[in-house]
Structure formats: structure tokens, C-alpha cells
Symmetry: C2
Subunit: 457 residues, 2 copies
């Protein structure tokens, strides 16, 4: 399929410039001040899909940020692939740690550096350009739909309703998502599992105002100390989560499957070195890849209380806060988990403080089978372009909406991502290698061709 590489070669600079324009729109879904940028990003995408040749494209309002929908139906007898992605990005803070500005993309050392370079503007745009390639060269082998949301980074709160309300429009035979990683550029892989998520915010209130720490210190319960104590009690010394009932719904993975997982390459020394840590520690009895792949976990994502400026301020703070996320495995329910942690924190809070736990968002874990036509087509495509059979792996991350697609739209998703762990998504200096961007565009058409022939067999 020489036309693939020819088309990429002839258009590669334009592809990149368009992605840069997309990235320059600071579509941070978490921030109210970026509301207009969300619309700008959605409109940008709609226009690029129209230029690429969809039958129609629209920006659909939701209760939150809009969904971009587009489709090209070439033949009702052919299978239909729906591409899902998201045009929103994580906040860029802390800004001072970036080596170049997060919303002014630039190429250095063969990589695109910017917030969204990988997650998910870079990966989504591979899908848009692969569609353009297939369409403009007359090689589109399946019907195609695009559903691109603007709330993935804040929990896809409105996409469930959108799916429920548009079941006919969204009918497809598989959903393809490029929002995950491969093990390495010489070790392709396909993500077959995602963890679920339950994200809460904890507020601990002590006295009704910040107090002088000398006049009151020692006599009353300090909410910052109390919160620290409560957080400390969420794990035991074996890094097992102590919330009663937390593990009740966890299905243990068989020894056999764990042995298979262990075949994926992992170098502990390199891992520690890349993070500059002297030891890895996780739930006793599991390996690092198992900690993120098959076990739930609990992490403080943010924590704040009292005076955080320069120098010393001697106050006993009135309030202390923490943002806590729990990554879940299949069969754990995010709302039940949020209730369990809320009850537990309330129970262990010391006398003298009050606790409020707010459930911010969550989603179920997902596991995709490896014996269906769509997985086989993805495996075929990657083997063609990488020269090696991809390894199925379970990722520690979450795309909460994937489990919901299965429930609401009754269709499986294939997580054919092209990112690398070193892309620093959600961190300062997010990046995406040009190799991976173009490799994705090259690979996707093989998937469509294969799936077109095998979906209904």
C-alpha cells in the first residue's frame, strides 16, 4: 500500500502545522476561564474534518463542553468504525517547569513539545489525517464516524447522556481510540485493560478562622495535622488500602495471566533512574507492572492548607483539603468506592474537626478481548508498520468512558494508541515524537482495510 507513505510524505509538513494550530488553542477543560477556547478547539476540529471530506460535521452542545460529531457513510453494507478522542487537555501548571511554553508547540530533538502534543490532540489528529489520507486517495474501506469530546480530562460527565440520546446516530461496529501508549518504538503493544477511577475531594474544617498558632496551639485539633493523620490511615505498612470493603469486588487475576504479563519487558533499574527514585514500593506481593496493571491504588493528587507562601507564618489553619484519586480494577464500582472512602474518613476523623467528602468524578475499569476481529485487525496493522507483533498489555490509566461505551452503545473499543510513557502526559514538558505521530497515520489505514474484510466474517 505504497499510496500511504506517498501521501504522508507529500503532506507531512501541513499535517504538523495543522496540529500546531490545534495545540495553540488552550482547551483546558478544568478551567472556567478557558470556556471560549473549548468552542474554538471544537470548531477547529469540525472544519478540519469537513476539509478532510466527511459528509457532515457538527458541534453538538451538551450540559458541559460540546461534542464534535462527524461521519462519512460510503456503503451501509460495509462495517462502520467510530473514532473516539478528546480535544480537551490537562491544565499546564506548574508553568515554571516547562522548558518551552505549553501552548506554543515546537519541535526539538525530533519531538513535539506542548500540552496536548500526545494527550490527546496529537493522537486524535493522527486519526483525522489518516481519514483524510484514505478518503483523498480513494482507499476508505469502512464507513467512519467521529465522536470527539471536550471533557475527558474532567471525567466525561456529559458523554454518557450524549451517547444515550444519540444511540442510532452513533451505531458502529467498533470504536477505535488512540489515547494510550505502546511499550517502545521497537516493542509495539495494544492496551487491553484500563483501570477505573474514583476521584474525591476532602475538606477538613477545624476552628472557624485561621488562629494564632501560639495562642491556640496545643489546645485544639489542627485540621492539617488531622487530615495528614487521616490520609496516613488509608494505607497500611504493606501499602494495602485500609478502607473497609475496598477490595471486596476485586477479582483476583490468575497466576497464569500474571505469568504472561511478566513477559512484557520491564527494567527496574531504568524505571527508577528515569524517575530519579531510589526505591519502588507498592502493595506487597505484586510486581511494579502489576501494581499499575491489575491492582487498584489510592493517591493524593493535591493537598493544601494554611500558609503556603514564602517564609514563616505562625497560624493554625481553619481548613485543610486533599484531592484523592483511586484507580480501580474491573468489577469495582466508582460510586460505591467513593462512598466507602467517605464513610471511612468520616469515621476516622478525630473529635474537634468536621469532614466533607465530595465525589468529583469516576468511571469503571475496562478489559477488551484479544480474539475479536477488531483486535486482530489492529494487531495486523501494527505488525505491518512496526514489523513486530504487538503485545497485549493492561495500562494503569483510565478512560472512564470506554466502559460506558460498552454499556450504552453495546460496542467494544480497541485502544490503538501510539504514545510512549516518556511523553510526560499530564506533566510539564509533555511531548510526542514525530516518529510516533507519522507512524500512527501510517498504521490506521491498515486497520481499516483489514477490518473491512474481517468484521462480518
Amino acid at each position: 500500500m505504497e499510496y500511504i507513505n506517498n501521501y504522508i510524505e507529500a503532506n507531512k509538513d501541513r499535517f504538523l502545522n495543522e496540529l500546531f494550530d490545534f495545540i495553540r488553542i488552550p482547551s483546558v477543560s478544568a478551567k472556567p476561564e478557558n470556556k471560549q477556547d473549548m468552542y474554538a478547539a471544537a470548531e477547529f476540529l469540525k472544519n478540519k474534518l469537513l476539509e478532510a471530506g466527511v459528509d457532515f460535521a457538527e458541534v453538538n452542545e451538551t450540559a458541559g463542553h460540546p461534542v464534535v460529531y462527524a461521519e462519512k457513510m460510503i456503503d451501509p453494507k460495509l462495517p462502520t468504525v467510530m473514532v473516539y478522542g478528546h480535544y480537551d487537555v490537562q491544565p499546564a501548571e506548574p508553568l515554571e517547569l516547562w522548558h518551552s511554553k505549553p501552548f506554543e508547540p515546537e519541535v526539538r530533538d525530533g519531538k513535539i513539545w506542548a500540552r496536548g502534543a500526545d494527550d490527546d490532540k496529537g493522537q486524535l489528529y493522527m486519526q483525522v489525517k489518516a481519514f483524510e489520507l484514505m478518503n483523498k486517495t480513494g482507499n476508505l474501506a469502512c464507513n467512519i464516524k467521529f465522536m470527539v469530546e471536550g471533557e475527558e480530562e474532567v471525567g466525561s460527565m456529559n458523554l454518557g447522556d450524549y451517547c444515550k440520546a444519540n444511540k442510532v446516530k452513533l451505531k458502529s461496529d467498533v470504536i477505535v481510540v488512540s489515547d494510550t501508549t505502546i511499550i517502545a518504538n521497537d516493542t509495539p503493544s495494544i492496551t487491553t485493560g484500563l483501570r477505573g477511577l474514583s476521584y474525591v475531594q476532602v475538606e477538613v474544617t477545624g476552628p472557624n478562622r485561621d488562629l494564632h498558632s501560639g495562642l491556640y496551639g496545643g489546645a485544639i485539633v489542627n485540621p492539617a495535622n488531622a487530615l495528614a493523620k487521616m490520609i496516613a490511615k488509608l494505607h497500611d505498612d504493606n501499602y494495602k488500602i485500609t478502607i473497609p470493603g475496598f477490595y471486596d469486588d476485586v477479582v483476583e487475576i490468575s497466576r497464569e495471566e500474571r505469568d504472561l504479563m511478566a513477559l512484557a519487558p520491564f527494567n527496574l533499574e531504568n524505571y527508577k533512574k528515569s524517575l530519579d527514585i531510589d526505591a519502588v514500593k507498592g502493595e506487597t506481593g505484586y510486581l511494579p507492572k502489576e501494581h499499575t496493571g491489575i491492582r487498584p491504588c489510592l493517591d493524593v493528587n493535591g493537598m493544601w492548607s494554611g500558609y503556603t507562601g514564602e517564609g514563616a507564618k505562625t497560624i493554625l489553619p481553619s481548613k485543610a483539603f486533599a484531592k484523592i484519586s483511586m484507580r480501580l480494577v474491573p468489577n469495582q464500582d466508582p460510586e460505591i468506592i467513593s462512598r466507602l472512602i467517605s464513610e471511612y474518613l468520616t469515621k476516622i476523623a478525630p473529635e474537634g474537626v468536621r469532614v466533607k467528602v465530595e465525589y468529583l468524578h469516576g468511571g469503571n475499569a475496562y478489559v477488551s478481548p484479544v480474539d475479536i476481529a477488531a483486535y486482530k485487525a489492529a494487531e495486523f496493522a501494527m505488525e505491518k508498520t512496526f514489523g513486530k507483533q504487538p503485545i497485549p498489555v493492561r495500562s494503569g490509566g483510565s478512560i472512564p468512558i470506554i466502559a460506558l461505551f460498552e454499556k450504552e452503545l453495546e460496542v467494544k473499543s480497541i485502544l490503538m494508541g501510539f504514545g510512549l510513557e516518556s511523553d510526560a502526559i499530564h506533566s510539564p514538558n509533555e511531548n510526542y515524537p514525530l516518529f510516533n505521530f507519522y507512524k500512527g497515520i501510517e498504521t490506521i489505514p491498515y486497520f481499516f482495510n483489514k477490518f473491512s474484510k474481517t468484521a462480518f466474517v
Copy 2:
């Protein structure tokens, strides 16, 4: 001494307006951006002292914020009183909790509302106006010196050197400080004890960058969770501090003295109500007033890590910080204490994170005797103007420099403050009742008169 009330009555509006001008200068010593305001406040004070009639006044440079020095020597045979105070104030944050702007003083409900209204601009300015009153009416009975620093709220780092370098200039028979509280306006008191302070900042570092909490969560040690666990380990369930050696130098107070302290009025229900807390908790075996008066304590003053903005950001933070202050009692050494906490935190830090503890500042505790002429003169003065003998009390706060005065200048300090606990110093909506401001100006001349006659007897 009718001239006292007559002079106050004739000048009360001017006194207040001048204080307001003083307060309007945002002399926040902790903030580098307020450096010029520190000089403006020092110059303001110098000029007001000159107007009040000192022989000379000067703004003396130090390695940090300047010291204002002034004196009026009327007769070398008379005793010399040195007034110590500070023109710097605490940061005003969090600004959104103030009902009026912190640096735009206003009078509501008979109180001055502003940062520094009490601590210490309001209280210091009573001393300045009492001097004016004594001097302009021809009733100054002692020599007087003023030493007013700009670094009290950040640990008086340079006043020790200033005292050492100016021992002759600063020679006096007693130091008078108005920077403390009375129990209530119908229950006058004099502070005879102050706690010491050891203030540290803790930095816990995990991975070299903020990480995606899904891709890494569960496999590596989260520095925010680690910090919480470390803070939790600083107290046991009886609110006793667990740092090895922390209590080694604490001198236990006799049952007899504790029984005397218990005579000071204290209403637990009102105390809880005023703070809106349902329980008070402190070191087992001691009463609330003892917790702040005679026992050391440890409090988180500030704590921060990861994402603290709106909404949910799924990161595993690279770093976590806490500001921790320990209030000390007589015989505890702040630098030894800072070393003990540093060693302990380093020891209990889990594998996988690194800990750095920085000693920000500290000072020794102080206890003043109640049988010396200066204390008796203060007792006499307050009895005259309040109509009741003041109670000697031990405050939980710290004025680290007071212990240093005794060491370097070999002179005792009398803590004749007029504030109320409800003045919310160091908090939003700091205030100072007009009653207390004018009562202070009225009381101070009685002290000077009495001390003039009794100091050398």
C-alpha cells in the same frame, strides 16, 4: 492625674488618624515585594517620634529590615525605660475572608479593623502616643528609649546582632512591650510567660516530575501520602509529640503553680463556641489553658502538594511541603528541637522519597518574675485604670526576642499588652477595640510614674 484623660480627650481623633496612616503602609516583613513599604513604615515612625519630642530618632540599617531607634534622656539619675515593639505585620492572606480591606483601616462596632490594628501597630502606637502625652504635658518621669524592629513576624533574625552591636546605646532598666493580650476588659492581666518557637519547612521529593496518577499510581511512593504519614507520626493518640528527645529539657510545672493558673477564668463552652468546634483536644493530662501556657506543641502551619486548583487533575505529585512550628517552654532550645525533628522525619521517611528539613527561625521561651519593681509598677498602673488587680498569666505565643534581650542586654521585659484574644491577630479580620487603644495610652503614664519612684529603691 487628670492631665492624662484631658490630653487623650483633646487628641483622640488625631491619635486614631495617625494610627490609620501607619496601618495603611503594608509592611509585611515576609514578602520581598513589600521591601519599600518596610522603609516607609520605619520613616513614618521616626517622624512621629520626632514630632512627639524625642532627642533624636534614626532608621538603623540591619542585614534585613531596619530598626527604628529613638531616645529622650531627661536625667541620667532617673531610671530608663526602653519600649520595644515591631512595625512589621503578618501577611493578610487569605484576602477573600476579610470583610474590609486589610490595609484600609476602618472603625466598625467600636473596633479598628485592619492587619496590624492590634499586632503590633495599634499596641506600639499606644506607647508612642503615651510618650507624647507625658512629654508634651511635662510629666515624663523616666528616660525613654524606643527600639522598634521590622522582623518580629519573621523571627527577629537581625535584632540579636543589633543588640550585641549597640549594648551601650540600648542600656536600660527595663524593657516594656505592648504586644500581648489581657484576659478581658473587665479582667486585666499581665503576661509573665511566653513560649519559645522552632519553625521548620519540610520538603519531600518523590519522582523527578509530576506523573500521570494512572500510569504510575500504585507502583511508586507518592510524596504527598508519604508526607501525610510522616506528619501523622509526629503525635501519638494522646497528642503527645513522638519526636525522640523532644520533652527531655522540659521542666515540669509544680501542682501548686498549676492550681494557681487554674484560677484564671476560662469557660470551655464559650471557648468552643467562639471557635465553632465541637471538642477541644490536646496532650492528655493537661487543661486547655495549660496546653497553651505550660506545654510545648507542634502544629502544621501550611501544607501543599500537587494540584490545588479547581476540579480534578490526575497527577502523582513530584513534591510535597509542610511548614511546621513547635511552640516551646522554658529550657527547650529551638535549634536542638529543629535538629531533633529533622533527624526524626528523615528516619521515618519511607523508602522511595527524599526529605529536606530547613530551620526557618526560632527563639527561646521566657518567664518573667512577679516580684520586681517593673512588674509591680505595671500591676499598679493597670489596677489604677482598670480598677482591678491584673492576673499574671502565661501566654502560648512567642516573642522570641524577649529571651534574647535578657541574654544580650541583661534586662528584664515587662509584657504590658492590651489586646484581646478576639482581636484575631494573624487571622483575617484582625481588629483592635478603640477602648483598648485608649486604655493603653491612659495606663502607660501610671507605669512610668510608679517605676520612676521604685526602680532604684
